[in-house]
Structure formats: structure tokens, C-alpha cells
Symmetry: C2
Subunit: 395 residues, 2 copies
């Protein structure tokens, strides 16, 4: 049988053809009116996509680069900060804040869980300078409560800045950045916006810009003030990733085109799309008789599944790739072998989803030999979810 | 929900990305050593793909152009020929042979059926100059018996040439061109070889080359003798379709790569792939409670399905496109509204197939409201076919 390679990974995600074509055609110099027009357009589009009136900046780096920029620009050595850690990416905030000399208080919850707001309230101190968190913890497929933390900051009168890694959260989670008071939210190109890795973007509130003036950390490439100044002139401070920016513009055009040209509505469509696909996938894996790793607060961006007792999750990853060229991911770090993860963020549709569930059924029957499982159970469960959420609802 | 446009049409078929990239890069002049090297390589690859030692020629035209070339080069006005017509493309042979002044005897079977060899035996006359037939009749999804007709010609000692439209048959049907004695077989680029329309290819036997010397029909662009002479020098007689030829080379490379670099084995894989997908689809539509249009001699290239009593088949076509961006085809000509057709030739895999069956289930439930149908029936039937043919067989 032929096998088409298909990514079901939480970044990189499947590429949008229109973005690929725009990237291939992006043969322009970056200090020209042509580029400035493109750059300003894409920055405006990103504001609508993020859903904020704050500045949004683009940088040629991975999401981690933008995470570092938010630490180096907003903190000083010796600052007390609070990290809400629910997995590998929460641990990255701990490492980053320590690398810049901060003293992080850390709420670390078991993998597969999220923290409670009571824990956050108890850990938030009068001198906490910033809270760093993930919107969705990609390593465990958990959704964290950004709105709840934002409200808590307001309620308690805390002056802490709220910095959110939305790298897999943007485009999979409903946010109201400005109303909630999120000071920084960070996204990456290889996620819901359907283009390859290499670009990060982040929104920065006025409160954050003000705080930046007091930071004593060294920074140059990631100096957000310099980047903001350049952006106002329609340029990037350093050489931009031109092709990716052209691709991002095309992808945002596509997202808007799915909602009559309205990018904010297109973003909501994209979130609903991920939610429906995630609901199909959760129903399917449970019908297989498998357990969700994060049943209580599952992200729409990615679903993490426990393999059957005594089976290495790598077997599922390997079989899906070997037999169907469907690429999913294993657990990260010490979670390797313990969960497998299937992504729903970005350019996925019904057809992709039901096909992967069909392939999973074969792995369940042929490789895992799951007791009591018969063909069609997982597919039927997913079909019913799609029918209820989309066809009956008339979406 | 997002919807990715996917073709399930019997030409054009889904494009192979590697071929698209080769086409985009094909910025070469056609009277150069670079092009000659490419052209000679692709012609050799085509011989292996067709499975013949005969010359294979490429032409910048659609499949119909190569059909015309086989008529204009092999017949003269007043010649008696035999056309085996099982649908719209059989009727095209009738029109073409008449356009060149032949007197065609026509075996015309009802749509959805194929002819019997007894009918062919009775219609084959001592002065029949050529038999024109389809390997698979795309308009009705019927497979015709090329091997049987070829044997009949040999058995009866007939001198008739056998000209086969293999446009959707090549890559979906097992052929042994030289052993059977097929004089001409015609293929098209937008079919099993996974590239856009615009190229036709055909193999020509020594018997056919000899017959060509006696043809009194006018021909210039489609003069196969001139094209053969140019091909021996590594060129095309007239300006070739350079990008498509580069794409075809990449597609044939891909087909070979699926069988350790052996193009003949790759072709057999491709045929088996189409057969498995067709078997999945037939099982699925029957599980839906629908009837096959050509149950007795179904092609692997395409499956034709009768809609429920009183329903226009266009409803299924429209719903699949509107709700899932899955493009299938209606019946052609007077068959419009009476059948819908789903293709399996070329770059289709398990994932494409099971996804389309999932979408068909929604059309069955939500739009057609088929009595007694419940979610999962069609999917389960297809899953079982795949398991039996591929997983259990260890393919």
C-alpha cells in the first residue's frame, strides 16, 4: 500500500499549501517598501489573530527565544517570580528564570494535572514580579486556567505581570487577552498558524513596556524595545525570516477567509475546529479502551493517551508511522514510553481525524490486540461526536 | 470546521508533492543535453511502467490526442474496424474512427456491463483492421477483458491490431502487454502517474509500426513515426511539455522507490493499492445499503455507485464537496444524476480511503437518511477488508 506521510504532531503541524507557495515566492529584500508593506500587514494580522490592541512583535527564533525575551526584558537578577509548572514546558520557565538570576517560586503539579487557583493565590506574594505559565502544556496535553490566574491577579491587587506561553494555546483556546489583562502571550509559527518553525510572535501590554525600562538583564537580539521601534517603522531590527513572514501572511489570510475575511472570527473557527477534533479523538481512544492522560483538564491542542498496561507507548508511535506513515509523538523526557500524543492544532480537518482513528483501530486490533475491541467502535464514537457537534448543530 | 480540498476523481488525481517540486524546478530548455537526458530517462521509465519492450512515446496532449493518433496512424479511410464500447469512452472510439473515415463495427453493451468474448468473436471479421477498446471504462467503472480479447485475436489468426485505451487502466490493472500482444496502449498523465493533465503516452508494437506505413490518413502533430525518430535522438518532435515531463520522471521515481527501485514491481504495488482501496470502497458502499453500478466486472480505477431510489446522485457529490471538500464525480452525459463515482487510481492511500468512507457515512445519515443505517457500518466493512488484504496478509 502507498502511504502518504502525515504529521499529527503538536508542532510542526501540517503546512498550508497557500503558505508554502507564498514562501516559495518570497524573493524580496527586507529593506525595501515591498517588505515593509508585507511586515506591517502581517503585524496587524497578528494583532487580530491574537485578539489584542497591544503591540505584537515578530522574531526570527523558536518559541523558546520569545520565552527568553519575556524573561530577559521583564525581570532583573534577584527578582521573585512565580512559575506554574505542569510539565516540560513549565520546567523551561523555571530554567529560564533561573538563567537570568530570578528566584522562582514554583508550583509544580504532577504530570497530567493542572494547578488550582487556591495554590496560585497562596504562592502569589506582594513582591512577585511576574507569573510565568503555559496556556496549554504540550508535554502532558493539559489546559491551564489563564483566565482564572489573570482574574486572581486583578482581585488580589497584585502588580505581578502575567506572561503566558501560548505556543500551542493560541488558535486552540478562547482568550480575551486585553479584557483579562494578559501582559505577554507568546506564539510560534509551526503551531496553529500552519507554517514551518522559525518564527515566534508575542504581544506586549503597556504595563509590560513600562516594566521593561527597569530591567537590569543584558539583552541585545531579544531587546523588545528595539524591535518595537523598528516595527513602528515597518521593519525588523535584525534580518527577518522573510519567507516565513510571507507564509504567515498567507496563512492568516486563509484563516480569515474561512470566516468571510474576519480574522477574529477565523481564529474562533480554528479554536472550535481543534475542540471538535479533540473531542472526536478523546471519544475514539476511550472507545478503544484506552485512558486519557489528562482527563480532567484536556487541551484541545493535543491529546495524550496512556498505552495499555505493560506496553511501551513507542509501539503505537512506531506502528502508526510504519504502517500508515502517520506521525504522532511519544512522551517527552521521562514521559517517553508512557504516553503517546496526537495533535489537533492548526491545519487538521475531519478527514485527517477520522483517518487517524481508522489507523489507530488497526493498531489496536493487529498490534495491541486490545481485549474486547472490535473494528468500528472507535470510529463510530468519533462519528457520533462529529454528528452531534457539527452536523446536528448545523456548523 | 476546516476542510482541505481532496480530489477523489478519476483524473485529475491527487498530485505527488515530489512531482510538484520537480515541475516547479523544471526551468530548462528543451533543445539541450539536460533535457535530452531527462527525456530519455523518462521514456525508459515509461517502458518499465507500461511493462513492454515496445517503443513508448510521449506527447503534449490529453489522452484523447493519443487515441486520435492511434486511429490516424493505424487506419485509412474505408477501413473496417471493431469498437468494443461499454460507455462514453467506447463511444469516443466510435466518433474518432468515423472522423477518420473508418467503418466501425460496434459492440455496444449497456452501461455498467462489459461485452462477452463470444460477442467479440462473432464481430471479428477477416478484414477487421483493428480493435479499439478500453481497459477500464471510466464512465461506468467497468473493467474490460483485454487479455481475453488479445488471446482471441491470436486464436483466430486475425491480423487485427489491438489498440487499448489504458488511460485509467494503466497502474490499476495487471497487464502483460508484450506476452498478450497489445499493439498500442495509451496512458494519460493525470491518472495513476500522479501529475496534472497535459501529457499522453503510448506504446507501439512492431506490428503497429509496420501497419503505419500503409495508413493514408493525414497527420502531422500526431505523426508517430516522426515522434519515434525524434525520441531516438532524445528529443520530442515539437515543443515538449517540459515541466510535466520532469514531474512524470519524479513520479515514476517515487513509484519505483516504493518497491526498492524496481519500477515494474512498483507498478504492481500501485495496482494492488488500487485493488485494495476499491475493495474497501465496494464493501463500504454496500454496507451503506447502496448498490454498485458495475457489480460483475468492477474496475479498480474507479467505483460507480447508484444513489438510493429517487435521489439524484448529484446530491451526494454536492454534500461531500460542501461539507468535507471531498471532490467525487457525477455520471457523465446521460448518466448524470444516476451514479456517483469515486476514484482509486494513483496517489491514494488507506487514510484517504477511510476518511472518504467516514464522510460518506455522514451523507448517508444526515442527508440521505438511509433506512436502517447506523454509524460505523460502512467503516467497519472497510476496516475488515483492509485487515484481511493487508494486515493479515502481511503486506
Amino acid at each position: 500500500m502507498l502511504r502518504k506521510t502525515r504529521l499529527f504532531t503538536p508542532g510542526p503541524t501540517p503546512l498550508l499549501p497557500a503558505a508554502q507557495f507564498a514562501m516559495a515566492a518570497a524573493d524580496i529584500h527586507h529593506r525595501t517598501p515591498e517588505f515593509r508593506a508585507l511586515y506591517q500587514r502581517v503585524l496587524e494580522q497578528l494583532k487580530a489573530f491574537v485578539g489584542t490592541q497591544n503591540d505584537v512583535l515578530l522574531m526570527a527564533c523558536s518559541g523558546t527565544g520569545a520565552m527568553e525575551a519575556s524573561v530577559s526584558n521583564l525581570t532583573s537578577p534577584g527578582d521573585r517570580v512565580l512559575v506554574l509548572s505542569a510539565g516540560k514546558f513549565g520546567e523551561r520557565w523555571v530554567a529560564l528564570t533561573k538563567a537570568y538570576g530570578c528566584n522562582p517560586d514554583v508550583i509544580k503539579v504532577p504530570y497530567g494535572s493542572t494547578f488550582s487557583l487556591d495554590e496560585v493565590r497562596a504562592a502569589l506574594k506582594p513582591d512577585t514580579r511576574a507569573i510565568f505559565m503555559q496556556a496549554t502544556e504540550t508535554s502532558t496535553a493539559v489546559r491551564n486556567d489563564v483566565e482564572g490566574v489573570a482574574k486572581l491577579i486583578k482581585e488580589t491587587g497584585s502588580e505581578a505581570l502575567l506572561v503566558v506561553d501560548g505556543i500551542t494555546g493560541l488558535g486552540t483556546t478562547h482568550f480575551d487577552i486585553d479584557a483579562w489583562g494578559v501582559d505577554v502571550i507568546i506564539g510560534g509559527s509551526q503551531k496553529a498558524v500552519m507554517i514551518p518553525p522559525g518564527l515566534a510572535y508575542l504581544s506586549v501590554s503597556e504595563r509590560a513596556w513600562a516594566a521593561m525600562e527597569h530591567s537590569k538583564n543584558p539583552r541585545y537580539y531579544f531587546d523588545l524595545r528595539r524591535e518595537r521601534k523598528s516595527a513602528k517603522a515597518g521593519e525588523s531590527a535584525y534580518t527577518p525570516s522573510v519567507a516565513l513572514i510571507a507564509g504567515l501572511g498567507a496563512a492568516l489570510d486563509y484563516i480569515a477567509s474561512q470566516a468571510g475575511g474576519d480574522l477574529a472570527a477565523g481564529r474562533e473557527n480554528l479554536v472550535n475546529n481543534a475542540e471538535t477534533i479533540a473531542a472526536m479523538m478523546r471519544a475514539a481512544v476511550q472507545a478503544l479502551g484506552l485512558k486519557l492522560f489528562a482527563p480532567d483538564s484536556p487541551a484541545a491542542a493535543v491529546t495524550a493517551v496512556l498505552p495499555p498496561e505493560g506496553v511501551d507507548s513507542g509501539v503505537v508511535v512506531k506502528e502508526l508511522k510504519g504502517r500508515f506513515a502517520a506521525v504522532i509523538t511519544n512522551g517527552q523526557g521521562e514521559m517517553k514510553g508512557q504516553i503517546f500524543r496526537i495533535a489537533h492544532l492548526g491545519f487538521f480537518d475531519y478527514m485527517d481525524t477520522i483517518a487517524l482513528i481508522g489507523a489507530l483501530e488497526h493498531v489496536a486490533m493487529h498490534t495491541l490486540k486490545l481485549p474486547g475491541f472490535t473494528y468500528g467502535k472507535a470510529l463510530t464514537a468519533a462519528q457520533q461526536v462529529f454528528a452531534d457537534r457539527v452536523l446536528t448543530a448545523g456548523k
